[in-house]
Symmetry: C3
Subunit: 260 residues, 3 copies
């Protein structure tokens, strides 16, 4: 592995730590490649059931690496750099949304630009009172990338999402939780512990049902009602066929914890 | 009719009462068949303009009948049972969402698993302070069914919907109203009266405009803007052609109540 | 131009003022044609970067002109009138949502029926505490038109949107902001000034990035995740190719305001 992003695995979970706070956890080709590598690693490791993504230090991510953009600009290759970098970043968030594991993110400070897309590509998102979502794009003449505007649009609706991106807005952690942009607000003191507890809880759950549920909801954001409920139905039939529902029902009726 | 679900009709409305509180208004093949029967009955009865679904006792529904699932499991036919049951339940919520009548639900207590899909397939949903939406699925190794995750996803957005289902969440009535998961919070004391008043108000309204409006919105959840507004447009043209708009406009200008 | 709707242009902005408050800023063929004309005018004027739509007097719009509907009804041509009028109104909101300029609306009073569709077809929507969204349609036997139910449905979700339109609801300005139906609540005293400040801010911004961002979000309301993020990506690549990103990055690193 490398030093800008750390990867730790234990039992059935993995922890990804964004570790380039000196350079703002900003995405240039090196950081993007490192992120892609750890995301692929956890994605295809059959032992990993759940992943936590967090940062060392409170800064989650400052977004794109503007010094790298400046160098690209000096070399007359800014569009090529952006085309390349965005291919990697998009592949990364697609892998996060599509992987058959539950992804949790913990945001304890500033999360700007692509940082928003990355943080909100997780299935469960925890913020502290110090979290701060900063649109940033319009200020530098850019358009949202990496799914950041998808996440905001689908959670907050068009009026708030347009305002946020067109006027270079800021949303604080508590407000993000209040509006449903993230799953939960946790206190800064206990944030790491709560994230670990959630990770443990997910690891003890029924893996197949969890990932089927994730898939139904994520793929369902643009489905019609009838398409949606047929996908739900195939999910619960698979749960019944695969044994998790059988064990879950037996445990419930025997008043014991299930062994998934 | 039968005893597990009651159906009453009066003037232009119908009242469906879930009446198997001893067995938790839980869905097995018998209960699902009874529900399907009453929903079809009201759907094709031309005299019925609006329907209220409520429960005897505060429990709206405990979800799937886990004892029936256990029997299915003992007989090595759990997947077949789930495939069969979910076909009936999906057909039921499709009929509710698609019928040219206005459906109202009143939730006065626990509403778990499929109960959520059923309650929220109504066009207007009233909850009391005692209502309690319980995801339940992950606890028994299951995936959401019957449109329950569709309703939660489209009302609350991906971050909250994923949290609710992946962590086996609970949403209380007042919170459900606050977040827009349901239409309205009513007080437990006056809930039945308020539901009846709403039923009466709907029955006095313009039937065709009401059902066209319902259809435009429900079918529109996955439409693009241009598809959506053309469907709206065909709706208002039909209102003008059918006479309801003519009567509504005349009544308004003559300062008298319309006779739809 | 004409007197029912005023159009003023200055530097790179335009102000559209609904000026038929005596007749309730209500839409008949004349008013619809005037609106269409000013919207087309600003749409194709290359000098205009941003538009503010407001009303003279607090009434934003009473919706359709019911006296015109009555005359149409007397002449046995109500459906033809509605078909014609709605074609113009739909073309207008499609032009607003699609134009490569940022549209701002300011609602300082009643906004009923089609008025909702018009007000909420803007990219940024400001309301004062005196704003009041009135569904109106069901009361006159009509179905929502001009995108009014699209805007409410996508911002508030199905439970609240169905309740609003089926029960002829009212939403006050502060509640509209609270629920995310509009972008912002501004105080009645400073509303015009805040709208002008926002207009100026938009005019100083990066035009191409602003309109690409608008397009990604608006077209994205019904896109799947993978379609969406590829559209985002093409947007940011275009920003890099077009020079705005280059200037934005340089200005940021040189700690000076960007010159877009």
């Amino acid at each position: 592995m490398n030093d800008v992003i750390l990867l730790e695995k234990k039992d059935s979970h993995a922890i990804i730590t964004l570790n380039a706070s000196q350079s703002g956890n900003a995405y240039n080709e090196k950081m993007a490649a490192a992120l892609w590598q750890v995301v692929q690693d956890v994605r295809w490791d059959d032992k990993v059931k759940a992943i936590l993504m967090r940062s060392n230090g409170s800064l989650f991510s400052g977004g794109g690496d503007l010094r790298a953009f400046q160098r690209g600009s000096d070399q007359q290759r800014l569009p090529a750099l952006v085309e390349d970098l965005s291919a990697t970043l998009n592949a990364t968030v697609i892998a996060m949304r599509g992987m058959e594991k539950i992804f949790i993110s913990l945001i304890e400070g500033v999360c700007a630009g692509f940082g928003i897309g990355l943080a909100l590509a997780a299935d469960l998102t925890l913020v502290t009172e110090n979290a701060r979502f900063v649109a940033g794009y319009i200020g530098i003449g850019a358009v949202p990338d990496g799914g950041s505007s998808f996440a905001v649009l689908r959670a907050l609706g068009l009026p708030r999402a347009l305002d946020f991106f067109l006027t270079n807005g800021v949303i604080e952690g508590p407000q993000a939780a209040e509006m449903g942009l993230v799953s939960r607000l946790v206190s800064a003191e206990s944030a790491e512990q709560e994230a670990m507890n959630l990770l443990d809880k997910i690891c003890q759950g029924p893996s197949s049902a969890l990932t089927r549920t994730k898939k139904v909801l994520i793929q369902g954001v643009s489905r019609s009602f009838s398409e949606y409920i047929e996908a739900e139905r195939q999910g619960i039939i698979a749960s019944a066929a695969g044994g998790e529902l059988r064990e879950g029902v037996a445990a419930f009726l025997e008043k014991r914890p299930p062994r998934f």
